[in-house]
């Protein structure tokens, strides 16, 4: 298709009304055509304003608090999960420690309650610590649940699994990608990558055959060379796309700019 043909599809793309194949073709063209990129951005701005055609509505007041509480949980848990250690007893140790701390804090509270008003400030402090501990425990629980979900995906019969091979950049690196088309959840288990330089990050890419790479999540590798990257992946990840990892500036890129470290074989 020529430029004019794509240009006619931009309005439909702006409201996501193209079928998947047309949409992929249009987006690939837009990547390489500044004029269509500008036009699509303007049409998307217009389309976004269609939201005003819906009646305004107020969510319940507690939604705000739920969101703020949830992001605190996200901030405290790393976005890239560390691999579980080989001895899998630690969560129990952690729980036990938290339980002991919990009881100790409760006892502390009771003692403090018996003192006079001067102790109130201390009580507040202990309560704050208690809350923090409970939040940490909650975060830890969510982490474990995420890890369990990740492992379930890796061992699921429904999930498609692909091995990613090292390139000459880092010959010891290897990775496995598992993807469940139904939920669009994907997980990339990585070993043997060199530690990330300070101003860089590794980035995951889904590269559909003959089309522009779709950027994925960025992640950092520390000393052990390992990471699990769990994320929602586009449907293209399930077809004959190449899954690759490159080194990019911190914050990631819109299109790959750095060396390729890992790639699945071209389908």
């Amino acid at each position: 298709m020529e430029h004019a043909g794509y240009s006619e599809l931009l309005a439909a793309q702006a409201v996501d009304a193209l079928d998947a194949a047309e949409a992929r073709a249009v987006l690939a063209h837009v990547e390489s055509c500044a004029e269509c990129r500008r036009e699509l951005a303007g049409l998307r701005d217009a389309a976004a304003l269609l939201a005003h055609a819906a009646p305004l509505a107020a969510p319940d007041d507690d939604v705000r608090a739920r969101i703020l509480q949830a992001i605190r949980g996200l901030t405290e848990s790393p976005k890239v999960l560390p691999l579980p250690s080989s001895s899998n007893g630690w969560p129990n140790v952690l729980r036990l420690a938290a339980a002991i701390a919990f009881v100790a804090l409760l006892l502390g509270l009771i003692v403090l309650w018996r003192r006079d008003a001067a102790s109130r400030r201390q009580i507040t402090e202990v309560t704050r610590q208690l809350n923090r501990q409970q939040r940490e425990l909650q975060t830890e629980r969510e982490n474990l649940a995420q890890q369990a979900a990740a492992l379930a995906l890796l061992t699921s019969a429904d999930a498609k699994k692909i091995a990613l091979a090292a390139t000459t950049t880092a010959q010891n690196a290897r990775a496995t990608f598992a993807y469940d088309e139904k939920s669009r959840r994907g997980i990339l288990v990585i070993e043997g990558l060199p530690p990330t330089p300070a101003d860089k990050a590794y980035q995951v890419w889904v590269i559909p055959k003959g089309l522009a790479p779709i950027p994925g999540r960025t992640f950092i590798i520390s000393n052990n060379g390992r990471a699990i990257v769990a994320d929602n992946f586009p449907l293209e990840a399930g077809s004959s796309s190449v899954i690759a990892v490159t080194l990019e500036p911190k914050g990631g890129s819109g299109a790959p700019t750095g060396a390729i470290y890992l790639a699945s074989p071209a389908g």
């Binding site: 006619e8 309005a11 439909a12 702006a14 409201v15 996501d16 009304a17 193209l18 079928d19 990129r37 951005a41 303007g42 049409l43 998307r44 701005d45 217009a46 389309a47 976004a48 304003l49 269609l50 939201a51 005003h52 055609a53 819906a54 009646p55 305004l56 509505a57 107020a58 969510p59 319940d60 939604v63 705000r64 739920r66 969101i67 703020l68 949830a70 992001i71 605190r72 996200l74 901030t75 976005k79 914050g251 990631g252 819109g254």
Partner: protein, 190 residues
């Protein structure tokens, strides 16, 4: 954040969110909760599902604020796009549970005229609704079906019993006309 949140531009708030500033996310929520929740509720027609999706959308804003690329689009567009895609994803899950039967009964309420009295208080919303009223009915209908029901052009043609080519032309002319009307009337919007 030192300045009054109401005076900070959307894009600056998003940049603050990408640095992990919770109060910036709260400010964006306070600024756009009515319109985003209205949009999600219009798509899902179920308050509790819509509240869940609103929460998901803001968590995505929190995690992905880094992806917001100002030269490539407005912050409002970015936020609305996230809320709408999340809502349409949820609609697809729910529709397999035959939730759409309920929504279909309401399919007549496309006319922007009955957009609700509370909405009329928003000046911005009034400009957009006025522009929508000026589009020919068929163009408006095609656009709103795509926008709120997540239908493709082919599905809209089937639903309305119109030829695909006609639907394509209507959608394209409708959105371009809407954009041009809005550009003429408010430089602040587009």
């Amino acid at each position: 954040m030192q300045a009054e949140p109401s005076q900070i531009a959307d894009a600056d708030l998003l940049r603050a969110v990408s640095r992990g500033d919770e109060s910036a996310l709260a400010a964006l929520y306070d600024r756009y909760r009515l319109i985003l929740f209205g949009l999600i509720l219009r798509i899902l027609n179920d308050r509790s599902e819509a509240e869940d999706v609103l929460q998901e959308a803001f968590l995505q804003v929190w995690r992905r604020a880094n992806d917001f690329d100002e030269p490539r689009g407005r912050a409002f567009t970015w936020l609305v796009t996230i809320a709408r895609s999340r809502a349409l994803d949820r609609l697809r899950v729910l529709s397999s549970r035959a939730r759409l039967i309920e929504a279909d009964k309401q399919a007549v309420s496309y006319e922007p005229g009955d957009a609700g009295q509370e909405a009329a208080k928003s000046e911005r919303g009034e400009i957009v609704r006025q522009a929508l009223r000026e589009l020919p009915n068929e163009q408006r209908r095609a656009l709103l079906l795509a926008y709120f029901e997540g239908l493709t052009q082919a599905e809209i043609a089937e639903r309305l019993g119109d030829p695909l080519g006609t639907v394509k032309t209507r959608m394209r002319s409708g959105l371009i006309k809407l954009r041009d009307l809005l550009r003429d009337r408010s430089r602040d919007l587009i």
